[in-house]
Amino acid sequence: MQKLSARQLVLISCGLTLDATLISIPAQMVKVAGHDAVFCYFIAMALIVLSWIAIVKTVQRFPGQDLFSALTDRFPFIGKVIGLSYVAFFFLILTRDLRSIASFVNYSLLPRTPLSVIIAVLGVCVALTVRSRLKGVGRMTEIYQTSLLIIILLLPVLLFKEVDYRWMQPLFSHSITDVLHGSWYAVAYLGEIVAIPFLLSSSSFPVRHGLYGLLIGVAMLEGLLVLCIAVLSPEITSRFLFPNYHLIREIRITDFLDRFDVAIVGVWLPAVMVKIACTLYFVCHGIRRIFPSLQFEQIVTPVSVFTVACSMWLYANYNQILHFNAHWPVLGLLFEVLIPIVMYFVLRPKVKSTALAK
């Protein structure tokens, strides 16, 4: 069983929460909840905290086992079906994230490069990262996620001149339904943190480490959202495909640092690729747990090639992913909230015969 340090675990949790969420979800939240979207993350987070506590308490009943092993040991058939469903769910997340990042690179940075080439190159990088197992992913997270967090913390200072808090007022001008609708967009993305108990044994992590990661991730997302609204205004934020990218393009330090956004994207891209690597690791680890005859090293490359092909096949274009985001939480709530809570009540270790005799 792979082990990670506490810091790596907090950073991976933070990466799962933060890195893919900041691409386009803020624009969709602001579109429905206006400047009151600042409350949306907190509502979504409250639900995910409940789900996280439930899933970690469940896996803690099976010392030395991850949730895939616990499920297949306790319920050999149903456990494998649930495990396969989770693999399929995270495979969809994997293809969606890969296509989103490739579209971002294609639209913003390399408009003349064919999308298939960008997806293939990203796929190779992610596969090479996963081949170094979870320890390699953890070490990469320590470098890039930490750098990304430092940059996000510096943003208020760099954008201080551009901030206009009048865009944030008056608070509570939207209905509670609008705010709930905004939270609806965020909840499935924040809930991806439930992947961790499937990857690590319960002895490797306490509840609080994941919570720290979730809290840091939500704090960063909240900071970015407030800056987007206060710098770009709610009207303009909701019309951008990538509002955070346009936010960092507002940074003007000197002529020399005119394209400071490229440097920031240069830190964010590896961070989000490590997040995608985590998801690919989840898929390969899940397949290996369900089909024990397959070795981890044997399946990483075929799964990566299949992911690259599927990320082009499943989605027509980036707009379609945005439309898909509106309905994605239905699936997200099922796998990230409902099933973990049901598992909390149902999944318990077998009572041993000696205990029965007593």
């Binding site: 005859s293 397959l294 090639v305 096949w313 699936l331």
Partner: protein, 75 residues
């Protein structure tokens, strides 16, 4: 270069790089790995050769929309 050749080159290169792992795999694992490569090539060719009118995520989206409480803009 045709799309089919492109897809074959990408999948073939990956297959050659992974030859050692493939050689050591059991028969079932070999079939699964080969199928994965073949499906990837087939999907790659299908995506670029045909005019795809409906994408799988659109079908899933339509199915999920029925359960979405905010599908018409509000609860």
């Amino acid at each position: 270069m045709s799309i089919f050749v492109q897809a074959l080159i990408v999948a073939g290169l990956c297959f050659i790089l992974e030859w050692n792992a493939f050689r050591k795999a059991s028969t079932g694992a070999r079939i699964a790995i080969s199928m994965s490569y073949l499906c990837s090539v087939a999907i790659w060719v299908y995506v670029f050769k045909s005019v795809q009118t409906v994408h799988p995520s659109e079908i899933l989206q339509a199915a999920l929309a029925a359960l979405n409480p905010f599908r018409s803009g509000g609860l």
